[in-house]
Amino acid sequence: MTTRSMLSAAAIAAALLAAAPAADARDLTVIGFGGGFQDNARKHLFQGYARERGVKVADDVYNGEMAKIYSMVKANDVTWDAVMVEAPELVRGCEDGVFEKMDWNVVNKAKFIPAGTTTCGAGAVGWGVTMFYDQARVAAGPTDFAGFWDVQKFPGKRSLRSMAKTTMEVALMADGVAAADVYKVLRTPAGQQRAFAKLDQLKPHLVWWKSGAQPLQLVGSGEVAYALGFVGRTIRAADGGAKYPILWNTLLYSFDYWAVVRNSPHKAEAMKLVEYMTDEKPLLALAQDWAVSPATASVASNPDVAKRNPGMVASHASKGLFIDTDFWVENGEDLEAKFNAWLAR
């Protein structure tokens, strides 16, 4: 090798080493489920906090899969600070020690609605799934889950979430079980058999979705006639011109919570961020741009917010079914395994 080529090689190596990012010093990171909510939350909640406190806040998206968080905590290399989690994953994560216990000295516990807090979580937003279809293709579709199952009267493919959670409840309600008794029945082996038998009836007509955008894509493209989808996205699509009816009597709802990942280097800051994100002023600002269903009591009962967001799950809770967190924490693993086995048959 000539001296020149050795020198240039050394120069490149030095440049690469210098360009290597510093090992520490990352921004406070908050993780959500994405979509329109996160875009607006970034403006009002994340960057609002950044502006007020003068810290940098980065955000990213995930699909609810907990494996990354578990690996992070296990490897003691935590790169996520605050995460929005669904209720059963929050409870399980708390038991498994991947989330910090909420610091109620920093986060004001009293400002939440009942069921708005758990040991490791502070209530963020409500969410729900409802049945919908494209009225441009089908003028009058089914109005309840029994109709969803009726392929004679309403022909076409259907789409449900590729999980036992929400699917089993829908199957039982289609079979005539009253909303109040759904979890009582589902707890028993006979009840689970009943749900699977009902799902067997619909299986040849079912297409399964995993991510929130899929049901809208499937119904929009005509691939599927009737689907169960996140009501927030459905309302948004309807506002944007699509003719999707919002059937509140088919609502299944729950709450998402903010949680702080265990052993995060920005633990204290993350708690303050959670306190800010669940505060009245930032949430009211967010409600101006995006229909929210907050878990903060003062915002949830604010008449202006309710008017702006006809889709707030809290205001339709009486017609819908609350997805029982405790039930899914206890039976989730078993039912998901059974569901996957059924799915693979």
Binding site: M66, A67, D96, E333, E336, A337, A341, A344
Partner: protein, 392 residues
């Protein structure tokens, strides 16, 4: 070994060691994860030690009951109880709520616990439960490997899991079936394409290679999603068929096994074409001319001269396609129906959704072992699949 060779070996040794370690270490870790069972021993150490010391007959002594409840409550306090509950609930559903209920009720339970616990829940008085707990207190377990083969440890040793939960053997069979079909289709399609590329004039051949490589370099997610758009009810294929009057209802092509085959062959074809192209390019055209001059008709020239010479390429391409196909997850998940999912879907499910490393590792280990056995058998029985050189 001469000094030169020793020196060469010594220089290569560190790198060879690194490569070997970075290959063997993850495999070893996965194998270990498939059989390790430290959840109970880590979170409830004294209980585990007592259970190991107990002989397994009838019910364990009173102290074990007390120690178990004490350690359960302590584990709840410091958030280490999760893995214990997950591990036990996986072996038998309902144990999670049973243990949590007992931990919550512990302060109010009267002595002796061996009497008051069964009053809370009859399973506490069942020797089978305590034997299950004892089994979970050793450092390792065959539970995950057995479950992956649709077996479990019952009252009289190993038994089959009930039909409602037995899914893995069928899944392995389906994965290998899909992979074999895809391999065959790839080989059949790749052969004429590679032949064309190898024998076309250079300008055309270059264009052809580019057409093969550019999709190869495109993201697999983009390619798979594109198939959804093409095969959907209101997509271009159905539109064309309807316009031509060949069908009067749009065909259901997406979310079927057909879509899985099409998309997988599309994605894996370059892996079959490129080795074949390499081998075909090196076959001297004189051989075919010589065979012709000796009086062989075209079909015989092909069967007796050309085909055997290209077999190493077919073999290399097929083995690569097969091994890739067996591990496919994204493509069947996006374009297949619920009956088309392969083993990797479940590995992803256990890793991402239920965080059950044991099952994920066990399925991965078994998949690797079965694939290895499959390829070894194929090499023994399929001509031309042996190492390198062409065989007569």
């Amino acid at each position: 070994m001469s000094r030169r060779n020793l020196l060469a070996a010594a220089l290569i040794a560190p790198l060879a060691l690194l490569v070997a370690l970075s290959f063997l270490a993850p495999l070893g870790a996965t194998l270990w994860r498939a059989v390790e069972d430290g959840a109970v021993s880590t979170a409830l150490p004294r209980t585990a030690a007592m259970l190991r010391a107990w002989d397994g007959e009838g019910l364990p002594p009173e102290e074990v009951h007390g120690e178990l409840l004490r350690e359960l409550r302590a584990a709840q306090e410091d958030q280490s109880i999760g893995p214990v509950l997950a591990r036990l609930n996986f072996e038998e559903t309902g144990l999670r709520s049973m243990l949590l209920q007992a931990a919550r009720a512990a302060p109010r339970l009267a002595q002796p616990l061996s009497r008051s616990l069964p009053e809370l829940d009859p399973r506490w008085g069942d020797p089978a439960f305590w034997r299950l707990l004892k089994r979970s207190a050793t450092g390792w377990t065959p539970l995950y490997l057995l479950r992956s083969l649709d077996l479990r440890i019952g009252a009289e040793g190993v038994e089959r899991t009930p039909a409602g939960e037995a899914v893995f053997l069928r899944l392995f069979a389906r994965s290998f079936e899909i992979s074999l079909v895809v391999t065959l289709l790839c080989a059949l399609v790749a052969y004429p394409v590679a032949y064309g590329l190898a024998t076309m004039p250079p300008a055309w051949a270059t264009a052809g290679i580019v057409l093969v490589l550019v999709p190869f370099w495109t993201s697999i997610l983009v390619r798979t999603a594109a198939w959804f758009i093409i095969l959907q009810r209101e997509g271009p294929i159905n539109a064309a068929l309807l316009a031509l009057g060949l069908v009067d209802q749009p065909l259901t092509m997406i979310f079927t096994r057909f879509a899985v085959y099409v998309a997988m062959v599309h994605v894996l074809l370059p892996f079959a074409i490129l080795p074949l192209y390499g081998v075909m390019k090196r076959i001297p055209p004189e051989y075919m001319r010589a065979a012709a001059s000796l009086g062989a008709p075209p079909w015989r020239r092909f069967l007796r001269v050309y085909l055997p010479l290209t077999m190493p390429g077919v073999a290399a391409g097929s083995v690569m396609v097969f091994m890739l196909a067996v591990g496919f997850y994204i493509t069947p998940a996006l374009v297949g129906g619920s009956g088309d999912q392969m083993v990797s879907y479940f590995i992803a499910f256990f890793t991402n959704t239920t965080i059950n490393w044991g099952m994920a590792a066990a399925l991965a280990t078994l998949l690797m072992a079965m694939t290895g056995a499959f390829v070894a058998l194929a090499r023994a029985f399929v001509p031309g699949l042996g190492a390198g050189a062409a065989r007569g």
